[in-house]
Symmetry: C2
Subunit: 86 residues, 2 copies
Amino acid sequence: MEREKQAQIFKALAHPTRLIIVEKLLEGERCVNDIKDLFDASQPNISQHLNILKYSGIVDFRKKGNLRCYFLKDSKKLEKIIQAIK
Amino acid sequence: MEREKQAQIFKALAHPTRLIIVEKLLEGERCVNDIKDLFDASQPNISQHLNILKYSGIVDFRKKGNLRCYFLKDSKKLEKIIQAIK
DNA sequence: ATATTATATAAGTTTATGGTTATATAATTA
DNA sequence: TAATTATATAACCATAAACTTATATAATAT
């Protein structure tokens, strides 16, 4: 079970778009709009990537008016992982 | 390109079987036979997982008679990644 | 040379991913 | 309340991943 969970985190990180999102969130929370502007991908596509990160437990969000601001649930851990892969 | 490469490493690690293989190889090189015995998966299945790790640049092998001994190409890096995910 | 052991490769099937376009929902503004 | 903005969800399609079984190859032993 432990390995499945770890594998799932790796799977969530196994996409350039999601890696870039996570790196952005290492700087602090960001609303979807800001995240979307990092890419020229479609809005639903970004939303789906965010959902994958959410589902895997890497990010969560809070509402701020009609915005959704995503943040890393454990930025220390992510920091380490991102650092280690370089 | 850098992100694609990192994503590919994550993808290679995004499977319980391959995670276990990598953790085993952290102890030192191992022949396919020994690796196979860690699982009750089929021989071709293990071979395919090893190939994925090879293709992604995580492992390499050397021949020793009719055995193939796999080893981590950068065990320090893998050590860090595996540590960070825990 | 033949058989055996260790391992890889191929072909086929099933399920999962990653993207698109269209549509829904929720909050804000007019 | 109607329109707008921000975002998610659904339906769909194409490609890739993960297995299985069958077969090939390479080294060793007989």
